[in-house]
Amino acid sequence: MKRNFSSFWFEIREGIGMSFSAIRANKMRSSLTTLGIVIGIVSVTLMGTAIEGLDRAFNENITKLGADNLYVQKFAWFDNDNWWKFRNRKDIKMEQFFVVQREITSATLVTPVVGTVKTVQHKSKDLPGVFTVGTSDQFFPLNNMNVEYGRVFTEAEAFGGRPVVVLGSAVAENVFPNESPVGKNVRVGTHTYRCIGVLEKQGSFLGLFSLDNRVFVPINSFFTRFGSEWGIQIHVKAGDSKNMDETKEELRGILRKVRRVPPGIEDDFAINQQDLFIQTFNAIGLVIAGIGLFITALSLFVGAIGIMNIMFVTVKERTKEIGIRKAIGARRKTILLQFLIESSSLSLFGGILGIIISYPLSLLINQFIPTSMPIAIIVVAILISLIVGVVSGLLPAIRASKLDPVEALRYE
């Protein structure tokens, strides 16, 4: 038994040595054969890297939404089928906000939010397309926003409709390139506001739009200057992500009552939360992974066929060698093992080449989404290429192991 075991290891080492010398002797052929594996491994590693990057970007962004925030809106997120139904719902009005604010007990912060797009101007500098938000003082703690300079507006200023504005960092940089904006007047649309603060840099949301290209004005000044017919959103912080459901139910009860939704009729408003983003993102991730898997499987399949083909050729070419080995004592499984090792080495060689190629490409992806090639994907890639090697080498190796030594020795 001991002898069998040691000879097994010697045979493996012999197989590895021989397969390396065979690959060295046929460099061109081996490289071409392994191309399918290279492409497969490149696609699997890059796909893994990209998904990792998307995941990371998403997780960084989703925290900006706040895990315990609820967003009361006419529209439900990620439900595009019912656009007209949502469109025809009654707007959410300030009176409803005040009722919510007064009655809700399980929430820590409640704020109305309304928005439009305006041009912000100071002296000769003007910046079009700035998202102008009308809200209350509670908006800032609700979204974990802090000021870089100055201050945010107070509750009295918010509901008193004072003409003060808090600038996003990008707006401040563009409109006040060389001076501090605090205490200066800016024009938002056609109205003059006094700047009282600048927010810290918030970054972008999923890389789609900047959170810093915004200005914030007291909600009542928004209505008096930009029109009072706007529908609002109500943002609510539950204060504890464990009590989300409780808060949501309470909020729903209050809104149904204030909006006079009869029992048995569905809500004419939506309460959105970040879970919806997570669900949607996971669905998108699944689609990307599915496409990636398909491309990978296809190229690995082509690669496997290539290796199988070349292994049949190799076995044929080396019939004589197989005869010699059998004559001096190689058993069936010795020959089987040798050719399996050879096909696996070939495939592994392709896999390693694939990793080497995809590494610089992953740095390229890093330019668009911050990511790095995960170690796990490298391990998976190596395992996959080994498995493909064994599977594709199986038939040729079985054929080699079953060769009749007399016939094989006679082969020229």
Binding site: N4, S7, F10, E11, K326, G329, R332, P405, L409
Partner: protein, 233 residues
């Protein structure tokens, strides 16, 4: 003197298309330890078939083949491989070395299949190569060696497992006369050291080195003659 090989009434036939070819018919043969034997015959006489049989590369259709008292006729492929590995040293007309491997690795290969440890393999391979006078050539590839040297490597490979018999199939067939003579001289020395040698050849002057000549014709033993009476120890 114990029998190494005991063959009783063996036959071998092949199916060739729709007719049966009888390559060997009712051949009986005993070979003793320490014999130097030549098997002769024209092509088609069945000497290749007999050699394959003796070398455990093939099994007879009928009859008994005992090798060191073990019944070869009923062995599995792996058992036959083990017998070839441990008990038989092959020397071929075309040398049959592995082209990409150096001398040392070629000679070590049977020991790898026997599961011998690395240091031991090296020691025994070097010993066998020293025996054939090639200890200076251990890192050469076959294509860097002359025909005579290649055949010496093959002989070293045959010797390295200390087999019961050395089976040489036309060992001088691809060599010039002078080199062929040197190889035959080497076989002579190996015989003197106590090795059992079986030559398969169609050349009379090669067969003359042996002490017993078996002539085959049409798959039967035509003549089995002792050329030189062996000295009993």
């Amino acid at each position: 003197m114990p029998n190494v090989i005991n063959i009783q009434h063996i036959s071998k036939s092949y199916e060739m298309g729709d007719q049966t070819v009888h390559a060997l018919e009712d051949v009986s043969l005993r070979i003793d330890r320490g014999e130097y034997l030549a098997i002769m015959g024209p092509s088609g006489s069945g000497k290749s078939t007999l050699m394959n049989m003796l070398g455990c590369l093939d099994t007879p259709t009928s009859g008994l083949y005992q090798f060191n008292d073990a019944n070869v006729s009923s062995m599995t492929d792996d058992d036959l491989a083990r017998i070839r590995n441990k008990e038989i040293g092959f020397v071929f007309q075309t040398f049959n070395l592995l082209a990409r491997s150096n001398t040392l690795h070629n000679v070590e290969l049977p020991l790898i299949y026997a599961g011998i440890r690395k240091e031991e393999r090296y020691r025994r391979a070097l010993e066998a190569l020293t025996h054939v006078g090639l200890e200076q050539r251990i890192h050469h590839k076959p294509n860097e060696l002359s025909g005579g040297q290649r055949q010496r490597v093959a002989i070293a490979r045959a010797l390295v497992t200390k087999p019961s018999i050395i089976l040489a199939d036309e060992p001088t067939g691809n060599l010039d006369t002078k080199t062929g003579d040197e190889i035959m001289q080497l076989f002579g020395e190996l015989h003197k050291e106590g090795h059992t040698i079986i030559l398969v050849t169609h050349e009379e002057y090669i067969a003359e080195h042996a002490h017993r000549i078996i002539r085959l014709r049409d798959g039967r033993v035509e003549k089995d003659e002792v050329v030189i009476k062996q000295v009993k120890k």
